[in-house]
Symmetry: C2
Subunit: 154 residues, 2 copies
């Protein structure tokens, strides 16, 4: 059944992510904790583009003993080790999205309802690199956000 395959895949992704996280921690002389496993699991199971507060509230249901600061600190660590991306829009609370195997994408952001649409255009990606090179600039990463009105709101 399709639903089982999806669940299996999700579990595989999380196991792989746990490995990446544990290796990253080990490499930095940091420790693996119960809290860290819970936070990573919750983060990968949760909705995309989540705030620390939302993640904290989701975790609180089953793990009321885990503190906000701990969630905050560890989302930071997930970013460091490449398992999460930070999204800052205006003065709003920072959002985070799980990242798996370096899949990069950009965002269309609706000015009315706030919806995020994930997009990618290889041609744009290549032109960005060219543009950087033309300016003697070594690109590392980029952020492209297009603001406007989504399908429902336009």
């Amino acid at each position: 059944m399709i639903i089982n395959i999806i669940i299996k895949t999700a579990i595989m992704v999380i196991n792989k992510a746990q490995d990446i996280f544990r290796n990253y921690l080990r490499g930095k002389g940091l420790r693996n904790t119960r809290q860290r496993e819970v936070i990573l699991d919750a983060f990968f199971f949760a909705d995309k583009h989540i705030t620390v507060e939302e993640l904290f509230n989701a975790i609180k249901v089953k793990h009321p003993e885990i503190g906000f600061a701990t969630v905050h600190r560890n989302v930071g660590l997930l970013c460091e080790c490449g398992l999460a991306d930070e999204i800052k829009i205006g003065n709003k609370k920072t959002r985070y999205e799980p990242k798996y195997e370096q899949r990069h994408h950009d965002h269309l952001i609706c000015l009315k309802c706030g919806e995020f649409t994930e997009v990618k255009d290889e041609k744009i990606e290549r032109l960005q690199d060219k543009l950087a090179e033309a300016n003697n600039f070594a690109p590392v990463r980029h952020k492209l956000e297009i603001y406007g009105l989504c399908k429902k709101c336009r």
Copy 2:
């Protein structure tokens, strides 16, 4: 002499900007004040990509009576009427740059020295609009930031 032409041009730009600002204020039933003229002048004379705090400190020299809140409020107004653009990078303080006649550009941002290089690629601009349209999304504005190492730092 070239220096005089540059100064003349700068003064013309500021006069035009003052007109735009005054018209915007009038249209909204707001008032023109001495402080607003000082802030606009200082903003257009100052370095690009300035923070409110930096602008406030620059103004303080000649106008120590003008308050921080007033500078902050009015930089906001300058953004509203299209004479300034907001630049938010990570958790750093918001920076603002004067905008004259809707000239849009994107930024290359050095991860080492923080330098901003202004760039524009018409091909990328067009592809962005196409990408939006392909997703039934009506683009209003966008933000493209390429992070990496600049000429000096690479």
